[in-house]
């Protein structure tokens, strides 16, 4: 009897020890995966995308359906310009969790980068239906409309974005750009001024102002605006464009 009791106790002890080891293993496994994800995010924020990709791939080799690692790797792929791979990772996230709206939103942005504008619009429309006050969704829907040549719809979406968030400089600027494209120079001028009121160093807005003045027949004011844009621009392409146009106006 005593021996049976001892045997039973020994068996329970072994079982508990095994469970303990297994859960300790699981704990350390999760810790390792989390550590890799954390390092991957740190590398992403510091711009070391290749290192970030390596860490996140390591995390995913240990935990294939880790939704955070998949989502973050999607961001890294996007930063590296590998938009197809980014889209795949965001879609994988949505398969694992269809309600993971950050992955849905980022997939929409990636579809814009891939020029899959109909898919992008579908995604942003889905987000807007569920979250009508989403300034980002309205703005990116506006971008999708604009790039698809639907400038009137783009104006509407940028208008909503700038109403939701009046300090959103880019929304005012892009609304002005869309209005310029529809031929509404007066409205484009108003929104360009709104953008410049929020950010007086906004080179692109000066460029757009130059475009508006040119179309209004005021070459002198246009030239001044392009000169200001050239002075403020940090993008060498924009600087070069301004220089060419100024030279053309001066001819």
């Amino acid at each position: 009897m005593r021996r049976l009791l001892l045997a039973a106790l020994a068996t329970c002890g072994i079982a508990l020890a095994t469970l303990g080891v297994a859960s300790a293993d699981g704990f350390f496994h999760r810790l390792h995966v989390d550590s890799l994800v954390s390092d991957g995010i740190t590398d992403y924020h510091s711009g070391d995308y290749q290192a970030s990709l390596g860490k996140l791939n390591d995390a995913l080799s240990l935990s294939t359906d880790n939704i955070d690692a998949l989502y973050d790797r999607g961001l890294v792929y996007y930063a590296l310009g590998n938009y197809s791979a980014a889209a795949d990772d965001f879609r994988h996230c949505l398969k694992l969790n269809p309600d993971f709206v950050p992955a849905l939103f980022n997939l929409g942005v990636t579809e814009i980068a891939l020029n899959e504008l109909d898919d992008a619009k579908t995604i942003f429309q889905q987000i807007i239906v569920a979250h009508p006050s989403s300034v980002r969704a309205h703005f990116d829907m506006g971008l999708s409309n604009y790039m698809a040549g639907q400038t009137d719809k783009a104006v509407d979406q940028f208008a909503v974005a700038s109403l939701l968030h009046p300090q959103y400089v880019q929304a005012h600027y892009d609304k002005a750009l869309a209005e310029y494209r529809t031929g509404n120079l007066v409205a484009a001028d108003v929104d360009t001024n709104a953008a410049l009121k929020l950010n007086s160093d906004y080179a692109k807005a000066y460029f757009l102002r130059g475009a508006i003045r040119l179309r209004q027949g005021d070459d002198a004011a246009a030239k001044t605006a392009f000169e200001t844009a050239a002075k403020l621009a940090t993008d060498p392409v924009l600087k070069s464009l301004c220089a060419q146009i100024i030279a053309q106006l001066g001819a």
Partner: protein, 105 residues
Amino acid sequence: MKRQTTAGRFTRLWVVACIAATAAIAGATIARTSAPAAASTPSAITMVDHALTLPQLLADESPYELIDPVGPGGISEDQAKGEVTASTMIGGLYNDGTHTFGGGY
């Protein structure tokens, strides 16, 4: 004698006319080929309108193009969701009037 003089005169006139015509044609040809054709340059409006189609003049240059990374060392899933659904942004942080989200940048 008179007939020969008239025929000779007509012949001389004909030769002179041919030479003059040839000289005129040659001169016009040389004038046309010696100066290069002026290349047509696009107008400033054309250049501007083309420039406005470029990504440099459209892309969202804010740091909020994508929603921030999620997980240990990043933001929480709730915060990331907040970045998508928020109606406004305050100091770079998304805000829906009751909660402030974000913090990646």
